[in-house]
Amino acid sequence: MAGRRRGRLSVWRFITLRLLQAIPVILVVITATFFLVRIAPGGPFDSEKPVTREVRAALEAQYRLDLPLHRQYLSYLGDLARGDLGPSFKYSGRSVNELIAAGFPVTAELGLYALLVALVVGGGAGIIAALKPHTAQDYLPMSAAMIGICMPSFLLGPLLVLVFGIHLDWLPVSGWGDISGDKVLPSITLGAAYAAYIARLGRAGMLEVLHQDYIRTARAKGLPQWQVVLKHGLRGGLLPVVAFLGPAFAGLLAGSFVVETIFQIPGLGRFYVQAAFNRDYTMILGTTVFLSVLIVLFNLLSDILAAWMNPRLRAQYGRH
């Protein structure tokens, strides 16, 4: 009992430690991004019809760009410490906080569905392939996975729309939460590449596990094959997948831009990419900070999940 309690406490220690380690990372990211965006050619007020000098000066004053660079930096850090990501340059009268708050839930939902698709399709394909390696049952799903990996979403998205949205008229071609079923195609499109990776990872993991001694033990108990695979093989086989999920989910959020554009989804991915195109300084910084925090959190989460799924690792973290 005592040992277990100490283990619990240490998990919190571990989490705290990791979060503390993340602080310098995020600080460096902020600093580097802050200066990088200002070095990049073109500014937020550049447009095809150039503004007069007076107007530019007034705009810069409104956005505090008239301050010396180090003062801008310090005042940004000050605002950030208070949780204020500043006003957007592009969307007048909107704060970056507000824009992220509007976009993130949508992207998170999209990412979650995409991940579900990836897990169901990819995990399923990986397991099926691993059950009978080097047969058609292996080659077919794995070939599909390979195509999935190299099929960019700017290609898969429109293809799915053409087939299911236009020719078959089963599903809406765009939108998010407006028409029933409009979440299906984007989720599949975004999840496809990840499904392919998961299929490969899952297959390799399952093959490895199915050769373990404890699988033989399970079979010696007289369990049927499906129980052996699902009850004894799955957990160990999918561990590499879990380790992949954290970075993958963070990647999904950052990489949802293309899918969000194709399907006109009001998510964070569009803001993230457009901010860079618009040189929306505060928005670039805000989304970058937000995403790096997410990356840290999701990596931590997938580590914790992996540890939770793997009792041996659980013990290791307990000792840390």
């Binding site: 373990q212 033990t217 010696a220 007289g222 049927p224 004894h232 957990r235 009792p311 013990a315 000792r319």
Partner: protein
Amino acid sequence: MALLQVEDLAVSFVTRNGINTAVDGVSFTVETGRITAIIGESGSGKSVACYSLLGLVPRPPGRIDGGRALFEGRDLLQMKETALRRIRGRDIAMIFQDPMTCLNPYMSIGRQLMEPLRYHHRVSRQAARARALELLAEVGIRDPAATIDNFPHQFSGGMRQRVMIAMALINEPRLLIADEPTTALDVTIQAQILKLIAELQRRRNIGVIFISHDLAVVADIADTIVVMQRGRVVERGEGEEIFQCARHPYTKKLLAAIPSGSKAPRTEPAEPLIRVRNLCTWFAPGRGAAPVKAVDDVSFDIQRGEVLGLVGESGSGKSTIGRSILRLVPVTSGKIDFDGIDLTALRGRELKRMRRRMQMIFQDPFASLNPRMTVYDTLAEPLLLHGIHSRKHVAQGVLRLMDDVGLARAFVRKYPHEFSGGQRQRIAIGRALATRPEFIVADEPVSALDVTIQAQILELLQALGREYGLTMLFVSHDLAVVRHLADRILVLYRGEVVERGSGDELFERPQQAYTRQLLQSIPGATRGF
């Protein structure tokens, strides 16, 4: 009628390189209430024979070529998979060799225990749990109620094997197949497990097949002994018969392989090569936590040309001492003096020079060889690194080493996985000797090997020790092995030296209770091997 009657069983493996006959016309019987031991070294087909009965040999590449296996009158070999599944884990249960890998690490032992019961008998969860608790108590798990929800890694090897046994017995099978159930365990634990199996068998009156490579292990418990070599049964008999009058040369070899006797006392004058003073090696598990005192205030000398035995069970710190001397783990405090040089103070280039003079042979010849380096590369590396041979002449050096350790020269381009365990250990020994060291730490060099191989390797070590004039620290959990080889013995318990003396002294006049326990655990001890 016999519980199990196997007749003319033949199993082969179809591989790309042709057909490999693994089991060739094997027959044996198992009676209710009796233990049949199948003895043979790795690759003799003893495990395949038993696995094929239960359909646990993967097919393909495995193939059953013929024979019958009547279990209570029904031929197991003719049964469909579904019918066989009803027998597996219910009427016939198995225990496997390595309790570390044979339990599912992701599932609590309780769930694993209950699984066969729930699957075969559709018992409620509560009832299954109650039965599991009973069995855990029966196999000697302390406080089962508190530990039933623990995971395998939270148990020691011996305890895991007890769990395995409980799992096998939970459905009250009529036949138990135990495949080398004690080979991966320390001697003391091995003795306990053997006792447990014999006890349970008597209490339940079931039939047992006990598979082992070591005659000594089964000496006390087997009723019938079947000796197998290269897929065939070469000898069979009631337990006592075999020991008294073995006919087949292979059986005799097996008997002879059981280590026995003490080494003759040394006559050379004592001149310490290594002095260890107040050695402490602690591991810090993390900031703030109390350190694990793997080695705590240990002092001893090793004389030049001496073989010093270091005995203790897993976790006693015996391997850590060896690694501390070789500077493979950081020393917490204390002094290690090698021929007048303080090893703990060495850095960089000096340390590298020193490494030439001291080498190590590891326990697991599977893990201690780089799987992607050929014998040639493995042996040439130290020769080139320490400039013992020029690149031009290194091939000659490699060949000479192979001769020394008794490996055929033709194998020079092969990879470790292409060798048997004993051959691999020969490569490892060759690598250690390549630098012509003065001192060698042998860390359980034979405990992963079959007895027959064990004897060969021990002999090789002895011969090479003489030839190279080696000083050796020989680490083992097996007193019999150590006694056979060592001039003096240290007994280690929980990081401290509890007793020291020559082999005979310890065997005849053990001072400490722990030493006595070690002595009693030697398999076949009562038989006087």
